[in-house]
Structure formats: C-alpha cells, structure tokens
C-alpha cells in the first residue's frame, strides 16, 4: 500500500530492512499472548478452579471446533488452529485500542496465507503420497491441469486479500471519518472536538468488532476446511 494509509516506518536497519508499525504491533501481540499463556497455565491441578476453568473451556472449544470441521483423526491441528485464531482476534481488534492492526498490512496476511498454502500441500502429499497428490492435479481429466494449478494458487491470494481488504477498508473509512469529524468541530469553532467522542463508536462496532471477529473466524475456518479437504 502506498504512502498515506500504509504502515509508518519506525526504524530502518542497515541494509534497507525496515521495522514498520506492523512489525512492532505484532511483537506486542506476541508478548501479550505469551504472557497470557505463561501466567494462566501455571500450577494446574487435577480439580480445576478459577482461571484454570476458563483456560480448559477455551482449549475444549478449540478442540471440539477442530473435530467438528476437520474430523476426529485430525485433532492434531487444534494447537495451530487455536494459536492462529487468538493471534487474528488480537490483531483484528487492535484498532480498538487506537493502534494500527497488523492485519491491515498485506505482508502479515500473506504470511499467514502462505502458511495455510504450505499446510494444504504438505499434508496432501503426506496423506496421499506424492503419486496420489500429482494424480489429483489431473482430475477429473488431464486438460484441467493448468486450471487446477491456478485454482491452487488463487486460494492463498483470496485468503490473504479477504482479510487484508476487510481490515484495511475499515481502517481507511475510520480514519476518514475521524478526519471529517475533526473538520466539522473545527468549522463550528468548538474548542473541544466533541463529535469525535461518541459518533465513531457505532462504526467501530461494525468495522472492528463485527468484521474483525468474523474475518478471524472465517480465515481459521477456511484454513481448516481447505487442509482437511486436500487430505482425504
């Protein structure tokens, strides 16, 4: 993305590697998630109490969702599914605390989509064998080979841009709205920007909460469905 709505560059390492807002915010989310998991998984007891109940409930939920969508024999994916889901939830809701969501950067969403792409094809080869995998590419008949390959490549692109488009769309509309409201209070001559206090919250509910949570869920669900469909 270009100048105005692109992530700010915080620091430039020698050799032209830039540390952007996206990277810094991703680090913060990583630290938050790691601290959460360290603090809440200490001192587990056989009979759960307090925070342990909540943690067990969340883990149960992730496992049962994985089982429901991917099938019983693929529960091994649950840790990745859970991690991806919590990272995406935090990342998409990051705008609520006034920071730039890391998923509003096509680099973040592409990286996640590439992980899904690798998972799809690695586990497809692993479960069908290389012969079965290649045979699947010329089905239903060999002429469709180029189309199958294009379809395979389109999957990560649409995954990455679905998430990116939704989040960056919300980001752009919100920043334009804040700009317009600031301009409005300036025009009337109010010393306090009163319009910016309440009005944006309704839009935050749709653009950040609704579409953020929904898009996290959809990304995780599509990853699960695509991986499990290629496996059997």
């Amino acid at each position: 993305m270009g100048s105005e709505f692109g992530p700010k560059i915080i620091y430039e390492l020698p050799g032209g590697v830039v540390i952007t807002e996206t990277v810094v915010n991703t680090w913060i989310i990583m630290i938050v998630l790691i601290i959460f998991s360290l603090v809440f998984t200490r001192k587990f007891e056989k009979i759960p109490k307090g925070a342990q109940n909540v943690v067990e409930m969340i883990v149960d939920l992730v496992y049962s969702l994985t089982e429901q969508v991917m099938g019983k024999n693929k529960q091994g994916f649950a840790p990745y599914v859970g991690t991806l889901f919590f990272f995406l939830i935090f990342a998409n809701l990051w705008g609520l605390v006034g920071l730039r969501p890391p998923t509003a950067d096509v680099n973040t969403t592409s990286a996640l989509a590439i992980i899904t792409f690798v998972l799809i094809h690695f586990f497809s080869i692993k479960s069908k064998g290389i012969k079965g995998y290649l045979k699947g590419k010329i089905e239903p008949f060999p002429l469709l080979l180029p189309l199958n390959i294009i379809g395979d490549l389109a999957t990560p692109i649409s995954l990455a841009f679905r998430l990116f488009g939704n989040i960056v769309g919300g980001l752009i509309i919100m920043s334009l709205l804040y700009g317009a409201l600031a301009g409005l209070s300036m025009k009337i001559g109010l010393p306090i920007p009163i319009f910016e206090a309440g009005i944006p919250s309704i839009f935050h509910i749709y653009f950040d909460v609704f579409s953020g949570v929904l898009q996290s869920f959809i990304f995780v669900m599509l990853t699960m469905v695509f991986v499990s469909m290629e496996m059997d």
């Binding site: 993305m1 099938g71 294009i150 488009g165 752009i172 599509l222």
Partner: protein, 267 residues
C-alpha cells in the same frame, strides 16, 4: 471516417489538460463507477430481510434467532459494497495516482479501470444476501440445530466473497503499484488496457451470484439434516471452486493486460 476523426480530436482535447486535472476528472468517473457495486448488497439484503419477515411470521417463537442470523448474513453481504466505498473514498480524498510518475492519460484511465473493477462486487452482494435469507429460514425452521447451518452459511458466503476480493486486488494494483505507468510509449494502448482490465473483472459478478446460490442451498440442506454437514459442505465448496473458474479467467486477462501486455509487441 468521421468517427475516427472525432476520436482523435477527443483524445487530443483530453491531452490539452494538465496532468493532475485529467487524473482528478477521471477519478470522479471512477468513483461513480465503483459505487454501482451497491446494487448487489441492496438486492441481497432486501431478499434476506424479506425472508426474515416471512420467517418471523411462520415461526414467531424463533424470531430472535432468525433475525440474528439475517442481520449477520446482511452484515457479510455489505462487505463488497464497503470495499467499493473504500476505493471510491480513496479516489476522492487520498488520490494516490497524482503522486505517481507516468503518462497522464494512462494514470487517468487507471482511475476509471479501478472504479469499473469494483462493480464486480454486485455479484457477491446478491449471492451472499440469498445465502443470508436461506440461513435465516433454516434458523426459523429448526432453531435448535441452527449452529451447523450457520457455520455453512459463513463459509459459503466467505467463498462467495472471492470475486470482489480479486477486484479489490486489481483496483489497488491500478492505484498504488501501476505497472502501466512505468511502461514507455504506446500510451493509447496502455490507457485502454487499464480500462480493459477493469472490465475483465466484471466477470466476477457471475461467480459471486452463483457461489452465493450454492451457499444458500448448502445452508438450507444442512438446516434440514445437520448430521450430513461434512458431506454437504464438501460438495458445496467443490462446486463453488468450479464456479470460480470464469472469474479467475477474468483475473488472468486483467493481469495479462497489466503485466504482460501482448498488444504492445504487435505494433
């Protein structure tokens, strides 16, 4: 050859304007084109709302649940309209084309191309609205087993979104990383290619509507027989992937026009 004469005159008239003026003028047309996409969500959400009213009439006890599903589905159907709005707003308030180096006619046409590409959002809007209606119906007929059908609706509509996502990609490429602007010479062909790439993306209307129909039917089927959810979902997603094909043809033609234009070499 009166028409040809008119066309040359028109082009040379356009070229008399300054670079920024031409780009801004064409951006206005592009922003207008982009908003045509609003037809889709309008039709789709209207359908969903109609089914919602019907469902409430048939089964008032489950009206809370079916209304929730309807609103959720309508919120998803809104997405392609919002993506179009974003492109239009960028063209109006933060036009990136002015900062780009390149020929003025090519850049100006890119604004129109980006706008036309976003019209494809019409398809997903209609399709997702249909799916939202079916989800609402399923929730009203079988309120206890509505969870599996809701899941299918969410997945199906997410896949139906794909075409408007591809359009967004092409529009963003045209606006922020325009490969035509850096190409030298043959400006008329390059400008026409920018508009043509936008037109190619219109093919996405079909897949959007079709995939939405598949999502709706899948939701309906799962609503009736929740236990068959894995098989139904599998068939639905496989079919949707096939339905995407023509939209991907459009995407390929758009990318060829932008990155590997064969027409330039013909001259």
């Amino acid at each position: 050859m009166e028409y040809a004469d008119f066309f040359t005159k028109f082009i040379s008239w356009l070229l008399t304007f300054e670079k920024n003026e031409l780009i801004l003028a064409f951006s206005a047309i592009g922003a207008g084109f982009a908003m045509i996409a609003g037809i889709g969500p309008g039709v789709g959400q209207g359908y969903a709302a109609g089914i919602g009213a019907e469902a409430t009439g048939n089964n008032p006890k489950a009206s809370k649940q079916s209304t929730m599903v309807m609103l959720l589905g309508a919120g998803i159907a809104e997405t392609s309209g919002i993506l179009a709005l974003v492109i239009a707003l960028i063209l109006l308030f933060a036009n990136p084309l002015i900062a780009l180096q390149g020929d003025k006619l090519v850049l100006a046409s890119s604004a129109i191309g980006a706008g036309i590409a976003m019209i494809a959002g019409m398809g997903p809007g209609i399709g997702q609205g249909y799916a939202a209606g079916k989800g609402c119906l399923a929730a009203s007929i079988n309120p206890d087993g509505s969870k599996p059908s809701l899941l299918v609706m969410l997945l199906g509509t997410a896949v139906a979104q794909t075409s408007s996502i591809f359009s967004l990609v092409i529009a963003l490429i045209l606006m922020y990383a325009n490969p035509l602007a850096t190409t030298e010479g043959h400006y008329l062909i390059l400008s026409a290619s920018a508009i043509g790439a936008g037109f190619a993306m219109l093919a996405g209307i079909g897949p959007g509507m079709g995939q939405g129909y598949a999502a709706g039917k899948g939701t309906e089927a799962v609503g009736m027989r929740p236990r068959l959810q894995p098989q139904i979902m599998r068939t639905m997603i496989l079919g949707q992937a096939v339905a995407q094909t023509t939209g991907i043809y459009g995407l390929i033609i758009a990318l060829v026009l932008l990155y590997a234009n064969p027409l330039i070499n013909l001259l």
